[in-house]
């Protein structure tokens, strides 16, 4: 049996500010992971990665991350991505200061 597909989200950094952003279902880029489109299968993942990469004047460094759904809301599974949702741990800078 093949392994179950781990849900994914397309992420990148905003070209102008460098902020971490996530691709939404309507092809916008949100600063919040909760807004992201959760991808449930491989083929769709590849497609959305291409969609994200086709906006080089808005974002840089587009890639897919694994997420786990908690009450339907995507949460990062790796600590690197968890830090990217917040900002650095030594100062209250970045998203943790701006969003929450």
């Amino acid at each position: 049996m093949s392994k179950p597909f781990i849900p994914k989200v397309v992420t990148a950094n905003a070209l102008l500010e460098g902020d971490v952003v996530y691709l939404t279902a309507d092809d916008q880029w949100s600063r919040q992971l909760a807004d992201a489109e959760v991808i449930e299968d491989l083929a769709h993942g590849d497609l959305r990665l291409l969609d994200g990469s086709s906006q080089p004047d808005v974002v840089v460094g587009v890639y897919l991350i694994d997420v786990a759904l908690e009450d339907g809301i995507p949460q990062p599974t790796h600590f690197r991505e968890e830090f990217r949702t917040r900002g650095p741990s030594n100062y209250n800078h970045g998203k943790q200061a701006e969003l929450f």
Binding site: G18, R80, G94
Partner: protein, 554 residues
């Protein structure tokens, strides 16, 4: 101090104008990221985890008050009010916006500073002993040599696309404070039978394959420096591997071909190159040396220093820890720790930068240095000014008396900023410093170098720390590997792995057990951690780090 000439200024202005146009073309979409990335890296602009990062060179760590003020202004105007000083005598800004970077570079250019060759496969910022020109133990000031190398390597047409980055460091003292044995080329000024010259070390480096540099020439006459260095770099340029980025540094070239082969090739090439230099370089060096003339030292009583030293225990503790002998007995070298317990190693706020700049102007011949250990130095201070300087530093929270101690930790940005990181390093440094401050053990422990990197690239020099800590990702969890017995000085050595790594919340207790074992086993308080380690070997430290293993075996 060295003043950039018109050529330098015009060159900077032109480079900045070029980059401004490139940024505009990136923003309007006419350049893709693939096209733009090498251009931004050539100008010191990286993309990190949460934002861009601009890396600015501070050649051989030397700057004046006016330049430090500009660094502070940039932090306020375009960043978040602080900057991060690094092990390569650079400053990094962690939050610039793409469209602001050209303005930041113009502001730097006005005081002769820039971000050129802080990235890419070029010859990078030339580093030097941070006590250069002031240290009592030096043969000669290494900075004229470093500046000559900077001028030679900047925009050198042959060396813009080397197999990999290339780093040079210069020291003028037998006591190496510039880590020259962990550089692609390490240079030490010396005299032999009254003649000035250099010892040339090649093939050192850290990263995934740490190597201690080897002596290529034990005495190179002073006049031969540039042709000889050019010979080394051009031999490397041809021989260095371009097929595998992990094997591309000169340390691997030297390792694979053998130092003798490299020496023969370099000598052959040198014989061809030497006549081409024709002495122009030596005339340049003479002019540069004149600009690095020592300041006019002041004569006067040092009684104010002695009084404060005897009457004020806080001042005394700071003076004992943070001052170093100067070549003029009435002077001191002041190390300003930017590593208050619990703070981020190497970070200074704009207010702190301005106060340090003001102190340098008022009391210290307008000179400042950045050390590879991520502190700020006032190289020339008449001892009578020390009490006033201490009071001024206190007003901006900069009087931590910990230079060379357990909390004077080198830490790379790690996963709090760096996109290549496999784990965090800053919070580990913060917690170790805070813990040993609470225990009030810092001065009891004495001299100790802890160095932390957030991945195998080793920007935090962990291989050459007495205690090195390397942060890794082990199956999706942060894990910290300890190495022991590393040495960054003239007796350079790569540390030895102590055993399995520790989880994020186990690393500080592990360090505490390690220090406990040292305190228990040392001969007396004069035996430093590194000396005890050399005498005793790994065993007692390993037993302290892994008590359960010992219990199981018993």
């Amino acid at each position: 101090m060295y003043q950039y000439n018109d050529f330098d200024r015009d060159f900077l202005a032109e480079r900045n104008a070029q980059f401004r146009a490139q940024v505009e073309r990136r923003i309007d979409g006419s350049l893709t990221e693939d096209e733009f990335k090498p251009l931004r890296l050539m100008n010191g602009l990286y993309l990190q985890l949460h934002a861009y990062m601009l890396r600015v060179a501070i050649p051989y760590g030397t700057l004046n008050g006016g330049q430090m003020d500009v660094l502070a202004n940039i932090a306020d105007k375009w960043d978040k009010g602080y900057g991060h000083f690094t092990t390569r005598q650079n400053i990094q800004y962690n939050w610039p916006k793409l469209k602001d970077v050209p303005d930041m570079l113009d502001a730097l250019g006005e005081v002769g500073m820039h971000a050129i060759q802080t990235s890419g496969n070029t010859i990078r910022n030339v580093t030097a002993d941070h006590f250069a020109g002031a240290a009592k133990d030096e043969v000669a000031d290494p900075r004229p040599t470093a500046e000559l190398l900077r001028q030679w390597s900047t925009d050198h047409p042959e060396f813009q696309f080397l197999p990999r980055k290339f780093k040079l460091a210069v020291t003028g003292s037998a006591n190496d404070r510039a880590v020259i044995k962990a550089h692609d080329i390490g240079i030490r000024l010396l005299t032999r039978d009254g003649e000035e010259g250099y010892e040339i070390i090649v093939g050192g480096g850290l990263g995934r394959t740490p190597m201690i540099g080897k002596v290529l020439r034990d005495f190179l006459p002073k006049a031969d420096l540039l042709p000889y260095c050019e010979a080394i770099v051009s031999v490397y340029n041809l021989l260095g591997r371009r097929d595998n980025k992990y094997k591309a540094r000169i340390k691997i070239t030297v390792h694979e071909n053998g130092i003798e082969t490299i020496r023969d090739l370099v000598e052959d090439r040198f014989a061809l190159l030497k006549p081409q230099f024709g002495g122009v370089d030596q005339k340049m060096l003479k002019d540069i040396e004149a600009q690095f003339a020592l300041p006019e030292f002041k004569n006067g009583s040092v009684a104010a220093f002695k009084d404060a030293y005897h009457s004020d225990p806080v001042f005394r503790s700071w003076a004992d820890t943070n001052l170093t002998a100067h070549k003029n007995d009435d002077y001191s070298i002041v190390s300003i720790s930017i590593k208050k317990h619990g703070q981020t190693p190497g970070d200074a706020t704009s207010a702190q930068m301005r106060e340090m700049a003001a102190i340098a102007r008022e009391f210290a011949h307008n000179e400042l240095r950045i050390s590879h250990e991520q502190n700020v130095i006032l190289p020339h201070v008449h001892k009578s000014h020390l009490p006033a300087i201490h009071a001024r530093l206190k007003s901006v929270d900069l009087t931590t008396a910990n230079i060379g101690k357990i909390s004077d930790i080198i830490a790379c940005p790690g996963m709090d900023y760096c996109a290549l990181a496999t784990a965090r390093s800053i919070p580990v440094a913060q917690q170790i410093a805070t813990r040993f401050d609470e225990l009030k053990l810092e001065h009891e422990i004495g001299d100790l170098k802890i160095k932390i990197s957030g991945c195998i690239n080793a920007c935090g020099h962990h291989h050459v720390g007495h205690i090195g800590i390397l942060g890794l990702d082990r199956a999706g969890v942060e894990n910290y590997q300890i190495t022991l017995g590393g040495d960054h000085t003239e007796t350079a050595a790569v540390g030895e792995r102590a055993g399995p790594g520790f989880a994020y919340d186990e690393i500080v207790p592990a360090i505490e057990r390690l220090i406990g074992a040292y305190l228990q086993n040392r001969e007396d308080e004069n035996e430093r951690f590194i000396d005890a380690y050399r005498r005793l070997g790994l065993a007692p430290f390993k037993a302290a780090l892994y008590p359960e293993v010992k219990a199981d075996a018993a």
